[in-house]
């Protein structure tokens, strides 16, 4: 089937969205951004395709109206698939590490290090199954994060037992991980799914036989997710890895993405990690006006990052603590550089942490409202996207400020808003292909 791919190269993460011809989202993928942009794009696209594959599976099952524990089964399949992916990359990492054990540094210890490496990876492979067991909690879904933390733990133990230099093991890892990460994903998706399927035990309560399940999966796998057209977007990249006709500005993608999620939206506020955008869109999702704060950390997610550091808290803990306040402190300096000083000042004066935090949340929202004001104000409906949109204290302040200054306005917040840009890009891809013409000439 035809799919239209939108890729959004952000500074921290790269997102991809797959749309079908009916404007429905088939799949979403996300990965950490990395130095090789082309690889980041491929990985994100593939993740989206994997997600898309599951959508197809779901559709196949629903069509066939089987009375099987669908979600349970698909959950098993996904975990097994992820495990396959992880093991594949582990193999790659192991090969790469082993290959780097040469040269002056390793004179005399070559075989010892290689032996230790093999042991570390054996332990990692053993771990892996548990990592992807049902209910297992992972801090992150990105290979670099998972492999990294586990590698360090095992390497330390193995180095101690085998009496080999620990730092050499780390050295080899550090060099390899970048290489591995920047290699484009290999292997056929369908094959991976089949192997994954093989891992799933058939429960006794299942009515269907393995063969039938296999058939359904095979049929779904048989539907090729054709990448009919791709549009990329992203900010701050002097050169995106696409030819010109496949690029759209991230402001337009963001506006259109918000429109796709909420067709009645007219004003969009995006508070990202490093910039804030105020966008006005018309009824067709076309951007009419925009303003950006792309130079100053105040009013961006980074502001909260500084606060979290100052208060020695996790970023996700800020919101809940701020929510406890009903008397936000009036913070006058919105400059991030002084946020810490202001914080310390007030703490020393005996003000409560939650009040100060609530005030700081208000400060960041005030800055964002400035950008919105400059872009044309707030028109119903209002969509709020970006990481900060997940912060309840920030959302509370936003709602208050909008109500006070613009009256009753519907405020839309989508937990998947991180995909807004990629969604818009995918829609641009679909429009470009169908000749709807978004006006961009080749």
């Amino acid at each position: 089937m035809k799919t239209f791919v939108g890729v959004d190269l952000g500074s921290t993460t790269t997102k991809a969205v797959l749309l079908d011809e009916n404007c429905e989202v088939i799949g979403r993928g996300i990965t950490n951004s990395r130095s090789n942009y082309a690889t980041a794009v491929r990985v994100a696209s593939q993740e989206a395709r994997v997600d898309g594959q599951f959508t197809l599976f779901r559709r196949a099952f629903n069509d066939a109206s089987r009375s099987v524990d669908l979600e349970g089964f698909l959950g098993d399949l996904e975990r097994a698939f992820r495990l396959e992916q992880f093991l594949e990359q582990l193999d790659d990492l192991e090969r790469t590490c082993l290959g780097l054990v040469k040269g002056e540094r390793f004179v005399g210890v070559e075989s010892g290090i290689k032996e230790a490496l093999r042991e570390v990876f054996r332990r990692l492979r053993d771990d892996a199954v548990d990592l992807y067991a049902p209910g297992a909690k992972r801090k992150s879904d990105f290979f670099r994060d998972i492999a990294g933390s586990r590698y360090h733990i095992h390497a330390e133990a193995v180095a101690r037992d085998a009496k080999v230099p620990y730092d050499l093991l780390i050295n080899v890892y550090d060099k390899s991980i970048i290489e591995v990460e920047n290699r484009p994903p290999a292997g056929e998706l369908s094959e991976k799914f089949r192997r994954a399927l093989g891992r799933i035990p058939i429960s006794e309560s299942s009515v269907e036989s393995r063969a039938d399940l296999q058939k359904l999966i095979e049929n779904a796998l048989g539907v090729e997710l054709e990448e009919t057209y791709l549009v990329g977007t992203g900010y701050g990249r002097v050169t995106l890895p696409f030819s010109k006709e496949h690029i759209r500005s991230e402001i337009l993608c963001h506006g259109l993405g918000a429109h796709m999620m909420y067709p009645k939206t007219r004003t969009v506020l995006d508070i990202g990690g490093q910039d804030t955008k105020g966008i006005q869109v018309d009824p067709n999702g076309i951007v009419e006006n925009f303003q950006m704060n792309d130079r100053c950390a105040a009013g961006c997610g980074r502001y909260l990052g500084y606060i979290a550091d100052e208060m020695n808290m996790g970023l996700h803990e800020l919101g809940p603590l701020a929510m406890k306040s009903d008397r936000p402190a009036r913070i006058n300096s919105t400059c991030t550089v002084f946020a810490g000083a202001e914080l310390r000042d007030r703490l020393s004066l005996g003000e409560k942490r939650e009040d100060i935090l609530a005030g700081l949340h208000r400060a960041i929202i005030l800055r964002a409202i400035s950008i919105i004001s400059r872009s044309g104000g707030v028109t119903n409906e209002f969509t709020f996207t970006g990481g900060v949109a997940k912060n309840e204290a920030a959302v509370r302040e936003l709602k208050k400020l909008i109500k006070e200054n613009y009256g009753e306005v519907t405020i839309n917040i989508n937990p998947e808003s991180i995909y807004t840009g990629a969604l818009g890009a995918a829609e641009f891809a679909r429009r470009a292909h169908s000749g709807q013409g978004d006006g961009s000439e080749a």
Partner: protein, 437 residues
């Protein structure tokens, strides 16, 4: 699978220089030579400002006209201004103030070297043409403190009500008659000859006629000129030390002929990379350009087929495209009118009118504002200007931010991002209009 490509960089092209470009280069070089030779030749030097530049009057006294703004621009284009600004800030000047001033002061602190590598002379007089910008007053007070030279205040009242009044003209003429001219006489040792002034004014008017033809050629499609980046070169002689000279007349003669030739051939504007390709976007621009990254900034436009058809900055040293010409029949009044009419001396409603009319008259796709951090005269109110022009023309506007000559405030990625979004916005509007049709 969609092809993922890495864009190639094009090899630099060999660009032929037009006669007007050659002439301008010669004029500038000769002028800097004359300036830096003044201590040897005994010529006296007057410093003044571009808005309210009474070049014809200055020439009547045989004075050499030094324009610190132009020097700051030269420093910016040659990427020296960054160091000068830092130097001025080290000495104690605030980060918030005009970077032309800081570039000038920093340059002075670092040897006061002109673009030709020789030292600038100390001015014999500062003609403080207080026109269109508050900072000018402080700039020359600072220079006066440094050079301890005579300073002449010429106050150009602001057109707050959108018009010139008799009171304003009388005030200015009186200042010219009883302060400016007598003082210049004394300092230069040359007696004022009003007929000499008339001669210069006649020549100014001639050059102005050709300049306006050139500016208005942008009404054509495709426009044969870029009225902003290209425009910086076109306004050089008329705004600088050459208005009223035969050189300027010749320059504008050449320029007009070249432009008419391009027009006849259906060519677009000349750019540092040669002729621009297909004209895809026509823009009106408000605000000064950035000078430290001038080429890079320009390239973001012509690479996309975007040409600027009209700009407000090319009127900062005088507005000629609404009919005003220097008039030899009323020499002092005409100097006053000239000063009163410069762009930055016009009220905000007048500026909105001008820009909205440009968008309509030059059939532009919209208004782009380049907001300069350190210039309050231009920047304060631009957001309102933007919205008013959008309202009046129904066409989209966009806003980018940079600075005159402080390179720290030019972020290519930011600006490119906003520009590209703007171009795509225009495309979308066109597509929408096509679909509706």
């Amino acid at each position: 699978m969609t092809i993922i490509t890495t864009p190639k960089t094009a090899p630099p092209k060999e660009v032929e220089k037009d006669a007007s470009m050659v002439k301008q280069k010669e004029m500038m070089a000769a002028h800097y030579d004359r300036l830096t030779s003044a201590p040897l030749t005994g010529e006296k030097v007057a410093s003044t400002f571009v808005p309210g530049n009474l070049n014809e009057l200055i020439m009547c006294f045989g004075l050499v006209n030094n324009l610190p703004e132009v020097n700051a621009i030269q420093n910016g284009l040659r990427r020296q201004s960054g160091a000068y600004v830092l130097e001025a800030e080290k000495i104690g000047h605030s980060e918030d103030v005009c970077t032309y001033v800081k570039s000038d002061i920093g340059m002075m602190a670092k040897g006061n070297i002109a673009p030709n590598g020789r030292q600038f002379p100390n001015p014999d007089v500062l003609l403080l043409s207080y026109t269109g910008c508050f900072t000018f007053m402080k700039w020359f007070e600072l220079l006066r403190e440094q050079y301890k030279c005579e300073t002449i205040m010429l106050h150009t009242p602001y057109m707050g009500d959108g018009k010139v009044t008799r009171n304003m003209i009388e005030y200015m003429v009186k200042q010219l008659k009883e302060e400016v001219i007598p003082k210049l006489e004394r300092i230069s040792g040359v007696k004022f000859d009003i007929d000499r002034l008339r001669e210069y004014l006649k020549k100014s008017a001639a050059a102005e006629n050709d300049l306006v033809r050139v500016l208005q050629s942008a009404k054509n499609k495709p426009s044969p000129i870029d009225a902003y980046f290209g425009g910086i070169y076109y306004i050089g002689p008329i705004f600088g030390a050459f208005r009223g000279t035969d050189d300027a007349i010749e320059y504008y003669n050449f320029l007009r002929a070249e432009v008419e030739e391009r027009l006849a051939a259906g060519k677009g504007p000349v750019t540092p990379d040669g002729d621009m390709g297909k004209e895809r976007y026509r823009l009106v621009v408000e605000g000064p350009p950035n000078y430290t990254h001038f080429r890079q900034f320009w390239k973001m436009f012509y690479d996309e087929g975007a040409v600027i058809v009209a700009s407000s900055y090319t009127k900062v040293g005088g507005v000629y495209d609404f009919g005003f010409r220097h008039d030899p029949d009323k020499p002092l009044e005409t100097l006053a009118e000239y000063c009163l009419g410069v762009y930055t001396n016009r009220s905000l409603p007048m500026r909105i009118d001008m820009l909205a009319n440009y968008v309509q008259d030059y059939d532009a796709d919209g208004l782009l504002i380049n907001s300069i951090k350190s210039c309050n005269s231009f920047s304060a109110g631009q957001l309102l200007i933007m919205r008013e022009v959008e309202k009046r023309t129904g066409k989209p506007a966009a806003f980018v931010e940079s600075d005159l000559v402080d390179p720290r405030y030019f972020s290519a990625a930011n600006i490119k991002n906003r520009l590209e979004s703007y171009f795509q916005m225009i495309e979308q509007k066109r597509a929408g209009a096509r679909a509706a049709a």
